[in-house]
């Protein structure tokens, strides 16, 4: 397990300026109860016909995925690892609501077809024509770290040479109150949504520069010694839930967006290493980034 893993490119769509990290020095601080994504101009990515047929979740996921694959210059990724905590919650909700209120007749198959958690990961594969490894992970707030862990182990184990990892969550306004009720009372950070994509590779292609090294990924369940585990990394900067909630609001993709920001911080020399510590219910996810 001595093989180096690099992050070649990251991209995000969130409450911050989309498809860039230029805002890192002067980020917005989202407030209120609900903070939706700032949508980028999707015209460079899709024809008007395509855009009409695609829901916001897939447009965001496809845009950030295409962007990192292009920037990394690796071509079709050898593996696609997708985190999806709530999955395609808008379609799921609409199908469920219509079933529970209008009854079990005359339901739309389209909503159901695009409601499983793996819809996004497989659409990314279809979009790019990738027949390689493809898996979706759904473990609430550590869905991202679960995806990153599998990708990291497979690159370290020489099973694949590179990987597209990401996490994608949507929260349409009509669902914000419902999701908020489940998330417990008021909180200082708004509920949010977003898409994060990272291109990982076991080597740095010629003429390219890695943003940073991905030195470790761990997931933990009911850790009794989290502080010890964290300090053993000796990271120059330890960033927890407050870091990514304050930048991106609360959602099951916040830590993935946080990893994009942290990769940018290491790449630009702001910090030599970052350990992201994400606690989600009984589970915790750790992502350790070091300068390349």
């Amino acid at each position: 397990m001595s093989k180096d893993v690099y992050i070649l490119a990251v991209s995000q769509i969130s409450v911050q300026e989309p498809l860039t990290l230029d805002w890192l020095d002067d980020p917005l601080r989202p407030s209120g109860r609900y903070a939706p994504c700032r949508e980028p101009d999707f015209r460079p990515f899709f024809t008007p016909m395509q855009a009409r047929r695609m829901g916001p979740l897939f447009k965001r996921a496809a845009a950030v995925s295409r962007k990192v694959v292009e920037e990394a210059g690796t071509g079709c990724p050898e593996g696609i690892f997708t985190g999806a905590g709530l999955g395609c919650i808008a379609n799921t909700w609409d199908f469920l609501e219509s079933m529970c209120t209008a009854g079990e007749e005359a339901l739309s198959p389209t909503l159901f077809m695009q409601s499983t958690h793996n819809t996004v990961g497989s659409m990314i594969a279809m979009d790019a024509g990738c027949h390689g490894y493809n898996c979706t992970y759904s473990q609430d707030g550590i869905s991202f770290e679960s995806a990153m862990l599998d990708a990291f182990l497979q690159i370290c184990g020489d099973m694949i040479g590179n990987a597209l990892a990401g996490v994608h969550e949507e929260l349409p306004e009509r669902l914000a109150a419902f999701v908020g009720k489940g998330a417990g009372g008021p909180c200082e950070y708004p509920l949010s949504e977003g898409s994060a994509a990272l291109m990982l590779s076991g080597s740095v292609p010629e003429g390219k520069k890695a943003m940073c090294r991905l030195s470790d990924v761990r997931i933990l369940h009911r850790p009794s010694n989290l502080d010890e585990v964290v300090s053993a990394y000796g990271a120059s900067s330890v960033l927890g839930n407050d870091f990514f909630y304050s930048l991106f609001g609360r959602s099951f993709c916040s830590s993935g967006l946080g990893a994009c920001a942290a990769a940018g911080m290491v790449a630009s020399g702001r910090v030599p290493s970052v350990l992201l510590v994400n606690v989600s219910g009984p589970d915790a996810g750790l992502v350790f980034l070091e300068k390349a």
Binding site: E104, M126, C135, D150, G281
Partner: protein
């Protein structure tokens, strides 16, 4: 040399019984579990399904969970299978191990049963977080002491196969010496209606690979394996039930819900599993097919089998004719059935098959006993073209 992943425990629950013994009995007696729904309340009660015999209350009583606690049926089924798997493996209670679950519906049964109350007031707020896939796996983990990592794969009908592959990666990489991996899924009105809206549910018991096949029957259950590094298992004197020699995952990348006519994803997944195991098609003694009984799956899977095996197709059967299509759990349930087939020397029947279809392979429809199986392939395919295949082998001692 890569660390070898062996199997030291297996747990199963489905419409054909609770536990491995009952499962073997049903298969050898060719007794299908597909029939009328007794627990799920739906307007489509005429659709045959493979429902587990125990109600939620019955499962809680079996597990010693208080009747008033709200627990997703997916979690209840999962706990039954994980308990059986861990008991067989004899893992020490404090062994630091990982749990990799696989589900798509998660706690959907709770959400659909309390939808009105959840949306209108605050009385059911505590139930909202139980909706997710992850919470269901966390609830399973809560019944045991040793799980220090928990995660869930959710790739629709190949979830359990992918969780077994991820679990195997966790063992092979040295992250863990043992991992419990599989999948669990209960029937819900949500996906019964979803599949019904796609018009791929048969109103009769399903007939995989038959010329007159008219769709699938949904089922439910759970199947989990204890995956262990070989040396670790041998050192603690565990009985080794089988070997996970290879696993393959590929994306059909063809259509969101339909499989490609040439079965590209399935072909690649089976080929990868064989390559990792260092085996060729001629080494495979049995294929437990995905075999849902839909026109599309069975012809696409047959195309992939013909591409891989040519003229020499080994015995193939679909045990979904016993259990129904247990969706996210199917890869776990069918992996356990494959291990039982190797252990007991049988090939499960492919119930309901009568007439050959030019687009399909001819399955081993009557089943066989007294056979010796060394290597079997277990297929799980899914929406999104998330196709996976596991290569399981009989344990022939330390190499």
């Amino acid at each position: 040399m890569a660390r070898r992943v062996v199997i030291t425990g297996a747990g199963i629950i489905s419409a054909i019984g609770v536990g491995k013994e009952a499962t073997v009995r049903s298969i050898l007696e060719r007794r299908s579990g597909i029939g009328r729904l007794r627990h799920l309340v739906t307007a489509h009660s005429d659709l045959p399904c493979g429902e587990a015999a125990l109600s939620d209350a019955g499962l809680k009583a079996l597990l010693g969970i208080p009747p008033e606690e709200v627990v997703a049926r997916t979690a209840l089924l999962g706990i039954v299978a994980v308990k059986e798997a861990i008991a067989q493996a004899g893992l020490p209670e404090d062994e630091a191990t990982a749990l990799v679950g696989g589900t798509t519906v998660g706690g959907m049964d709770i959400t659909e049963n309390h939808f009105g109350g959840m949306t209108s007031g605050d009385a059911f707020n505590a139930l909202i977080p139980l909706h997710t896939c992850g919470s269901s796996t966390d609830r399973i983990a809560g019944c045991f002491k040793g799980f220090t990592s928990v995660t869930t794969t959710s790739t629709a009908c190949s979830s359990a196969a992918n969780s077994i592959a991820l679990g195997a990666n966790l063992v092979r990489s040295g992250r863990f010496d043992s991992v419990v991996a599989g999948g669990s899924e209960c029937l819900t009105r949500y996906h019964l209606n979803g599949f019904n809206s796609l018009m791929i549910l048969d109103h009769e018991p399903c007939r995989p690979f038959d010329a007159g096949r008219a769709g699938l029957n949904l089922g439910e259950g759970a199947g989990f394996l204890v995956l262990e590094e070989e040396g670790h298992a041998l050192n603690r004197g565990a009985r080794i039930m089988g070997v996970l020699d290879g696993w393959g995952n590929a994306c059909d990348a063809y259509h969101q819900t339909a499989s490609s006519p040439d079965g590209e994803g399935a072909f690649l997944a089976m080929g990868k599993a064989l390559a990792m195991a260092g085996l060729g098609p001629g080494d495979v003694d049995y294929v437990n097919a995905h075999g849902t009984g839909t026109v599309n799956n069975d012809s696409s899977e047959s195309a992939a089998l013909r591409r891989l095996f040519g003229e020499a197709i080994p015995p193939v059967s679909s045990t979904k004719s016993f259990t129904g299509h247990t969706t996210s759990a199917s890869g776990g349930i069918e992996a356990v059935i494959c291990l039982l087939a190797m252990e007991n020397g049988f090939i499960p029947a492919n119930l309901g098959w009568e007439k050959p279809d030019g687009d399909c392979i001819v399955p081993e429809h009557e089943g066989k006993e007294g056979v010796s199986l060394s290597h079997v392939l277990c297929n799980s395919f899914a929406f999104g073209g998330n196709d996976s295949s596991l290569l399981l082998s009989k344990y022939e001692g330390h190499e």
